[in-house]
Subunit: 469 residues, 2 copies
């Protein structure tokens, strides 16, 4: 049975693109953080949508599960197979063509295996912006971004990946090709299938191509680092900047003093903009479609008024693009500094923006009560209500031994998230890692509807089983 399936797949993609040799398969089986290695019957690398359809058709006939895979940079074990060894890994990496750019429609049609960075560059070369931006952009593929509805640092202005996509091409679980590659900004002709496949983590079908929205390239972007006395002040400043700057506010990141001390201790060469320390900092990015002067005037006057009004304690406004990059580097080095300090317990959560100050206060207190002197590394996309709320051991306690408390720490944090009407996965998705958490916190009515949709679109249950549901 397996042999005849593999023969059929080999006939579809050619012998060079069907991998069954264990060492050659290995890189496709291990997750990005190296925490889990699964097993598979084979890794298959189709060249085009037609081949993807033939592979799904063959696997459906053989009742063999399929694990779609892109850049394999996901953080929730969504794109690696389980340990059973019964699945085929379907890598979309060879579907890497930019099929078309339509400047007057501000759209680009790309295949699932295109690297995000390459898409950003192609947009730039066409004089436009594809705004999706995240840490793994040099390795992740747009198929993975779509399947996980990736977030990143530009959501405040441009939305999540779902908002950046106008059309999809999908191979269904029955091996049929759905051509939904529309480039329309208004289309009310039936159910939101595009939205449904986006964020479904490959459990309903395989995204093979997409029509992406492009935006005008801003003339200038400018960054400021603002010192604040509390998360509540950070929220007040956010409201003030939104009132004053509207859509020109393109980034708003919160970082605690502990985060920046961590960065400074591991990366001493990075800028240290303030002589004093403050409890919190906001990284503010403003973009102007007019000019650099316009961005600077707007940012300086808004931040100046925030200081005069007592909302902010101090601020550094970048005087150049390179200074802006330096300020962003502080933000971007927080995960690297954490990694250098040792493993900690990570949470990717979101909350109503208004509830973040109370959430931080209550959750910090609950953690201190359970694990005295534990250290919270809290930073994230405050403008989207998305915190990376990570917990490190008390000083003197080994990171490895503290990981033994992972379940108890997670329970405190996620229970608090639920109490504040938040989400246990803001931008990373569910995969296999958070499946039990999802079952714990989602309403039964919602889980039932999700299961009904899964059964309707993938009745054989072959699409990425064990993920999400």
């Amino acid at each position: 049975m397996t042999d005849s399936l593999l023969a059929r797949l080999r006939a579809v993609v050619g012998a060079a693109h069907l991998v069954t040799d264990a060492p050659e398969m290995a890189p496709y089986l291990t997750d990005w953080r190296g925490r889990f290695t699964g097993r598979a019957l084979a890794v298959v690398l189709p060249a085009d949508t037609h081949q993807v359809a033939a592979i799904v058709d063959a696997c459906a006939a053989a009742r063999v599960p399929i694990v779609p895979q892109g850049g394999r940079t996901g953080l929730v074990l969504g794109s690696v197979p389980d340990a059973s060894g019964t699945a085929i890994v379907l890598s979309l990496r060879r579907l890497d063509r930019i099929r078309a750019i339509d400047p007057a429609n501000r759209t680009m049609t790309v295949e699932a295996g295109c690297i995000l960075y390459d898409i950003q560059q192609a947009a730039l070369q066409a004089g436009m912006l594809f705004p999706l931006s995240l840490a793994s952009e040099g390795s992740c593929t747009i198929g993975g971004n779509l399947s996980s509805n990736a977030g990143g640092t530009a959501v405040l202005r441009y939305g999540n990946t779902r908002e950046l996509c106008l059309g999809l091409e999908v191979v269904t679980a029955q091996g049929q090709v759905w051509d939904g590659l529309r480039g329309l900004r208004k289309d009310n002709t039936g159910y939101a299938l595009r939205e449904l496949f986006i964020g479904a983590e490959g459990t309903l079908g395989v995204i093979t191509a997409a029509v992406l929205k492009l935006y005008p390239q801003p003339k200038a972007a400018l960054t400021a680092l603002v010192a604040l006395d509390s998360p509540r002040s950070a929220l007040t400043l956010l409201g003030l900047l939104q009132e004053r700057c509207g859509a020109a506010l393109t980034g708003y990141e919160l970082m605690s003093d502990f985060c920046l001390r961590l960065v400074a201790s591991h990366f001493p060469d990075l800028p240290r903009p303030f002589a004093a320390h403050y409890p919190q900092y906001a990284l503010v990015e403003l973009s102007s479609s007019e000019s650099g002067d316009h961005a600077a005037d707007l940012l300086e006057s808004a931040v100046g008024d925030a200081i005069d009004g007592g909302v902010a304690q101090d601020a550094v406004v970048a005087a150049s693009v390179s200074q802006s990059i330096g300020l962003w580097k502080m933000r971007e080095h927080i995960p690297l500094a954490q990694a250098a300090a040792g493993k900690n317990i990570k949470h990717d959560i979101s909350l109503p923006v208004s509830r973040i100050p109370d959430f931080i206060e209550c959750t910090d207190a609950a953690l201190q009560a359970a694990f005295p002197a534990c250290q919270v590394v809290c930073f994230g996309h405050l403008g989207d209500g998305n915190l990376h709320y990570n917990v490190a051991p008390p000083p003197g306690v080994g990171h490895g031994s503290f990981l033994a408390h992972q379940e108890a720490v997670k329970r405190i944090v996620h229970d608090s998230v639920a109490a504040f009407s938040g989400s246990i996965s803001a931008e990373h998705g569910i995969g296999a890692l958070k499946r039990d958490e999802l079952a714990r916190y989602k309403p039964a009515v919602e889980l039932d509807m999700m299961r009904a949709i899964k059964a309707a679109l993938d009745p054989l249950g072959i699409m990425n089983p064990g993920k999400i549901l």
Copy 2:
């Protein structure tokens, strides 16, 4: 059977809110344009979500179809029952509370029966903007806007209704309440159920409440009317304004000379900004989060450069809010002037923005070949690729007799839409009116997936049967 169901419904809502008397039912059975009157067992008007759930539960037990209804302003026969007389009309009008406003989260929680205008006003009173705006805003309800994914004049900047909603409360086809009233900007925990119920026209369940996004109120909005030599120039001007103004461009409407002549002949008191006539006009709206001066500088310099560069022929920039309102009135009076001239054949279509000039040229030519001297009333939201492409009889031919050609005209227009990769329903939805057209133009794979989802979420087929599918 019917009697016992009605008794059960009466027990749920009280005798005063179950209408079975024919004259009293009549207003709930006729569509907005007065083209169709259906029949029903009864009209039921619940007071809250709990009552909606009890009604759906009772109808499911009795296998009686339910037609959810809001302000009944839809244009595609989506919210009125068919002629069979077997259905219950479920009016959501009494669910009209604004449950909460969260200024710091920029969200508002509203019930389905709230009138759009009331929501706009409540946002304004809280110092914010709910941007959804359309002709029927004084009568339509947010439940209907959500169920039809309404568009309107602010889509270019703020998106369709789907993009303006963060969370839903839904009564499922099984009569269960799904509390998905989240106020989160990032939430990747499973399938896009919110997106799926939005735009489903009540065929999958009943939307009873929603969390809406609010925006900062712009400091100023300013309008210009720009004279152009062709739709292609209108497209060039759109690109130029997007480059120069970014998100400050909040409206971009195209109107042909024929449209404005029609308005002038029926409403002679409206402003006539130009002494000469030009083939096309663009109504441009710019909003500034900074000041009126900023909006004026930006608009005047961009429009001035468009004239200097030969893109535009002439322009009038409103010098005041009242002048801006006057220019918008010209646009808003096009449908009224059409109605005054007599019935014509309407199409609500969308296209990739880049293909609009060729679409207009080809479709106009095809119509002239089939119906020499017929008159096309073409206007719409060019920034969204959405045209209201309506066809009036040749001079001297009666509007009534020309309506006999409706099917042939529609076939020419919709075949052309399909050839240019467009949509036969941009913002009005499908309802019962366009169901056959949907079946004609949608790929079979897509229709099959829609049917599978319908069967999965509404296995008894009681939710608004005969609409969409």
